[in-house]
Amino acid sequence: MGSSRYAPDPAMRSETKRLIAEAARHCQPHYIYTIYPCTKAGTTELVVGEERFRIGTILAKSFAAATHCAAFAATAGMEFDCWMHGEEVAGDILLQFIVDAIGSEIAEATVRLTVKDVAAQAGQRQMNCGNPYSPGYCGWNIAEQHRLFRLLPSNPCGIRLNASGLMTPIKSVSGIVPLGHDVVKMAYGCAICNKKDCYKNRIKD
């Protein structure tokens, strides 16, 4: 809820509990992934299948040992989106805040399931699995989302992209996961990256 020092009062706890129960009725989590061979190009680029991504120096290090990667999309579902933007939630800034946090947790949990599944598949091919990374983060431009979606079936899990590369339903995550015999699962990028202007590092500080 924005701060580890925040202790929610009983009213806030009860509202959050009610919304979590309500969210369970609206969320329909789905994920999809496809595994491709990949190769690095220089210190900032990665070629996955027939797509060339400018992932930047931070992410390139995480893909240094990757011979393959999984392109994925995961979502809390369109019904959650409709609820989130419906009259009850959208008209109340406090509910918006709580439901946004719940939606992010659902999407992140769906990504964790995706990666678990990818890791199991990769394991059968004697490959290890790294952390997932998404366009928009760690210096990887959101505009490359369109290229990433070309690696997945059309409208994967019902997710659509707008011209800016943003996804609908909003509570969706897409990205790539490094795979390979020599891939080592490191501490998550945020634990080792010192990108000064990233909000995650500011939270860390």
């Binding site: 924005g2 701060s3 918006q96 928009g136 210096g139 990887w140 909003i170 202007d197 990233c198």
Partner: protein
Amino acid sequence: MTNNEELYDAILNGRLETAVAVTRQMLAAGADPHGLIDHSMIRAMEEIGARFEAGKAFVPNLLMSARAMKGALELLRPMLKGGNASSSGKVVIGTVKGDLHDIGKNLVASMLEGCGFEVVNLGVDVSSERFIEAARTEQADIICMSALLTTTMSYMKEVVAAVRTSGLDVKIMVGGAPVTEHFAQCIGADGYSSNANAAVTLARRLVLG
């Protein structure tokens, strides 16, 4: 406790139902809507904002106060229309193109509204053209931009350049987790704020020129 104090207390503590009930009661007793706004509501929002900035209140507390303020304000709105009410200024606010994070931006919008500004919220993924069009149509005093990602905050520079080229007489303020004072200066924005309360202070300063 007087009714004014009760309203102040309800908004400060984020009690929506109480804020609405007391406002209704005061209006029925003939209270001046402008007096309610000035003497109770804005004061309460300023106090919760100050507590937030001092680390004594948190985002949910701000949101609860903003919600209580909004509920009470809804009752007053019909009485303010066509009157001689003067707002603190008009702000067009949005999250920049490529970015869909809007919780912080909505919080700033609520605080501005709670502190007497007229706010036009353009939502997320807002292009420079939309910022300019809205600022022109609404005759805004300030364009307020937000971004959460390092990969989208650079778009703020494009918006600032486009606004300057357009010749619009409007101030530009920026905020969002990756944004800094230095970045704001580099892109030519008129101001930066690190939180919702500071955004209100900055907006007031910019409007006064």
